[in-house]
């Protein structure tokens, strides 16, 4: 709650002109010059906040959120990249469902899984909901304005519509790592456990040390 208030207050500092003028032509003209905002203060910051834009994304249930501020900040996340069409050629969701099952009760509490659409021109909340529901995926599938999505994907170094990389991050500590999205789900769940801090931290799930 405290965090949220801080977020609200600092947002107010960050974008006063937008607040004061509302959705006006003037705001749009300012927003058109995106470079003018490059170094504007952020509502919430964190170890890797500067890698990501302040942008709004929409999930399969049409719930909107600020990408970094509400979905990444201070969380343990597993981020992967796909699209409805990409999934036909390079499926990853089925493997992530296995990871979801291993993460169990932690999902949505301290661990969050996101699939970021690499094809926001075509992926709508409706089509993503269909994809998620077909697999029993309980995490958020995110789409949004194509420019914003491109900026988010660039932050993760993702190019192209199909990408087999998953990022595991603990934004409390700022530590991030990758696993192939089609890696054995146990190793992806292990990455989440390894990067977790506090009571959920485990250095490994399977002991593969030499004996």
């Amino acid at each position: 709650m405290n965090l949220r208030r801080k977020f609200i207050t600092s947002l107010a500092v960050a974008v006063p002109s937008l607040v004061m003028t509302g959705v006006s032509a003037r705001a749009n003209s300012v927003l058109g010059k995106k470079s003018a905002f490059k170094d504007c203060p952020r509502g919430i910051t964190g170890p890797t906040a500067h890698r990501f834009p302040q942008a709004i994304v929409t999930d399969q249930n049409k719930k909107k959120a600020w990408f970094y501020e509400e979905l990444i900040h201070d969380k343990i996340v597993l981020v992967n990249f796909s699209s409805v069409r990409g999934e036909e050629h390079y499926p990853i969701v089925a493997n992530m469902v296995k990871v979801q099952n291993m993460i169990g009760d932690r999902l949505g509490k301290d661990v969050f899984i996101y699939t970021i659409s690499t094809d926001p021109y075509h992926d709508t909340p409706e089509s993503l909901k269909e994809l998620a529901d077909a697999h029993g995926a309980k995490w958020q599938f995110l789409t949004g304005d194509p420019d914003d999505m491109r900026a988010i994907l660039t932050g993760f170094g993702i190019r192209g519509k199909i990408n087999g990389l998953s990022w595991v991050g603990n934004e409390k500590t700022g530590r991030w790592m990758t696993k192939a999205s089609r890696q054995h789900p146990l190793y992806i769940a292990e990455a989440v456990a390894r990067l977790s801090t506090g009571k959920h931290h485990k250095p490994f799930l399977v002991d593969m040390h030499s004996v």
């Binding site: 949220r4 609200i8 207050t9 947002l11 107010a12 974008v15 937008l18 607040v19 004061m20 705001a27 927003l31 995106k34 905002f37 490059k38 170094d39 504007c40 509502g43 890797t48 500067h50 890698r51 834009p53 302040q54 942008a55 709004i56 929409t58 719930k63 909107k64 600020w66 990249f81 390079y90 949004g144 304005d145 420019d147 914003d148 900026a151 660039t154 932050g155 993760f156 170094g157 190019r159 192209g160 990408n163 087999g164 990389l165 990022w167 530590r175 991030w176 790592m177 990758t178 696993k179 192939a180 890696q183 054995h184 990455a191 801090t197 931290h201 250095p203 593969m208 040390h209 030499s210």
Partner: protein, 593 residues
């Protein structure tokens, strides 16, 4: 009082994006400041912020001291021989302990001045670093103390992970678990620094180095090795954080003593002294130089964009983790063991007089990947090294006058982590690496070192008809679906991708399927000899035993391997460590024959 409540209310609404509808949903207020690559000169104009400006050649070179033998009795608990293959045969004669800690390190005094209070040290005392202790004066350093070993004298090292836990560690990158790989050592799997053999904070791992020639053949002697972290998924960042150090193996032939009376001894420059006096003077003439390119933030700490899986480029070259240092040298010969410590930069190093930067000076190359060549390559004017490559060179400063200043400059253009562009930097775009300041030798001092016409023969390669009968394997290094892959696969420690039998020989082909990137491809445990590089027989410095094949775009390299002496798990991987951490690695095993 500009309607504070109203203002807050408005911003509260703003924080609930749903109210925007479609109108301002594309409001992208801040774009990422961390973008991808450097400008065309490979140095500036980049999209990652530049390092703070520092004065080149204003601080002395750090030369790590020798690792200090603590004796077998010092180990508590004692060595358990059952944990190590063939321990009874190669009982430890030299015993070392190293503690890996977090602290501060002076990369450059002008960067120190920018640093905040951190790792228990006051502001201004140094950049955050992970370091090794175990040197003669006990101070932790990066690179760590040099492991100086001799064939026939088995070594045992216990390495303690004394880093803070992931909850408490200050270093913003890397992961505080360690697995220390002695790069190119002919070492049993359990001592190799296999990526899954990691120790977490408070634990230690033991390494038994038999100091036994492969196949007991002195032509298989290794000379310039390095130890570096190999933690699964965190090799690039843990090494970047500071976890690297050098190792030197000597024997009767390459004895380290230029005055050695043994008729077999090569008498290369060296006096078995390691370290420096703190004022830019080396104690010895056999000096290891490891290059790491580092980028620093405004607070003087190393920075790293973990999200760029192409690789990391620093904008300041460090030599033994000192930014652009100088070294006083005498008018005599020196042996320099030059290491590319990575993670992703390739170098072409040239030697120039500061007063005449247009005329390349010549030097002799005596070793490739730390192994002596059959004969020296004389009159080289530059040397090309990729991540984890090593070249030993001899520079004879007697050709210069006292007071001359000689520089090592990097000529290779590289604009992103994928690899060099293939173009040469010119003029002031060349990157400053290290300056030598030439001085007269001491009164009565003589340089007895030589660079003999022959160094060490190469082990025999069987004739073609025998090679044709051997098992052939191909390893294709590629980029697929955003992943760095080997044979289309990515690292899975439960999958064994090749299982040669102990005592067997094979022909392996390394193929770079990429047309714009380079892959320094490294195989643990055994080294190989090149049969063909893009269809041609190797000449010059490529006629050597190698452990890192630096593949340029579309290169195909065919090599000869033998597998002997120990069994167990090893890896093959790209030594652009950023590619390695993004799964460009496979497990292979040697199985009992």
């Amino acid at each position: 009082m500009i309607k504070r409540r109203k203002f807050l209310k408005a911003s509260a609404l703003l924080s609930v994006p749903a109210i925007f509808g479609g109108g301002v949903a594309n409001a992208q207020l801040c774009r990422p400041t961390g973008l991808r690559s450097l400008g065309p000169d490979g140095k500036t104009g980049g999209t990652e912020p530049d390092s703070p400006a520092v004065t080149a050649y204003s601080q002395p070179l750090f030369i790590p001291p020798q690792l200090h033998d603590v004796g077998v009795a010092a180990l508590n608990p004692p060595i358990d021989p059952n944990r190590h293959q063939r321990y009874e045969e190669f009982e430890a004669e030299k015993v070392y302990e190293q503690h890996i800690t977090e602290g501060v390190w002076t990369y450059h005094p002008e960067l120190d001045a920018l640093t905040p209070a951190q790792a228990g040290q006051p502001a201004g005392s140094g950049s955050i670093a992970w370091m090794y202790d175990g040197g003669i004066n006990g101070q932790p350093s990066t690179p760590g103390p040099t492991l100086v070993a001799r064939y026939g004298e088995p070594v045992f090292v216990r390495r303690h992970n004394d880093l803070p836990t992931a909850d408490e560690v200050v270093m913003p990158i890397g992961y505080p678990a360690i697995s220390t790989h002695l790069h190119n050592a002919h070492t049993a799997s359990e001592s190799d620094g296999y990526p899954m053999d990691f120790a977490t904070p408070g634990e230690f791992w033991e390494h038994h180095y038999a100091m036994y020639y492969a196949r007991n053949d002195s032509n298989e002697a290794l000379a310039s090795l390095w130890y570096h972290d190999h933690m699964i998924d965190f090799t690039a960042t843990n090494v970047y954080a500071g976890l690297s150090g050098m190792a030197i193996f000597y024997d009767d032939i390459d004895s380290g003593d230029e005055n050695d009376l043994n008729p077999q001894a090569l008498n290369l420059p060296g006096n078995m002294q390691f370290g420096d006096d703190g004022e830019g003077n080396s104690l010895g003439y056999d000096i290891s130089l490891i290059l790491h390119d580092v980028r620093f933030n405004a607070e003087g700490n190393p920075t790293y964009n973990v999200f760029d899986t192409d690789g990391h480029l620093g904008d300041l070259i460090t030599v033994n983790r000192k930014v652009q240092p100088y070294l006083n040298v005498k008018r005599r010969k020196y042996r320099f063991r030059i290491y590319d410590g990575g993670p992703s930069r390739f170098y072409e190093l040239g030697l120039f007089k500061t007063a005449d930067r247009d005329t390349p000076l010549s030097f002799d190359i005596i070793a490739n990947d730390g192994n002596l060549l059959e004969e020296p390559f004389r009159g080289a004017t530059s040397v090309i090294i990729g991540p984890a490559n090593r070249n030993d060179v001899i520079i004879d400063f007697s050709q210069f006058a006292a007071g001359d200043e000689i520089e090592i400059l990097n000529l290779a253009e590289q604009v992103n982590g994928q690899g060099p562009t293939g173009r040469r930097l010119t003029g002031n775009n060349r990157m400053e690496v290290l300056k030598f300041i030439v001085q007269e030798m001491d009164e009565g001092e003589v340089d007895n070192s030589v660079v003999p016409a022959t160094l060490r023969p190469l082990p025999e390669i069987p004739p073609q008809e025998v090679l044709d009968e051997l098992i052939h394997r191909e390893w294709v290094f590629d980029h697929d679906m955003g992943l760095w892959t080997v044979n289309g696969d990515f690292m899975d420690p439960s999958v064994i991708s090749a299982a040669p039998k102990q005592g067997s020989a094979e022909v392996w082909t390394f193929r770079n399927a990429g047309s714009s990137w380079a892959h320094p491809c490294h195989v643990h445990f055994e080294e190989c000899q090149i049969l063909e590089w893009n269809g041609k027989k190797p000449t010059g410095v490529l006629k050597a035993r190698k452990d890192v094949m630096t593949l340029g775009p579309n290169d195909v390299v065919k090599v000869f391997y033998r597998f002997d002496d120990f069994v167990g798990r090893y890896v093959i991987h790209c030594h652009n460590n950023v590619h390695e951490d993004n799964a460009m690695m496979l497990r292979w095993d040697i199985t009992p024959g």
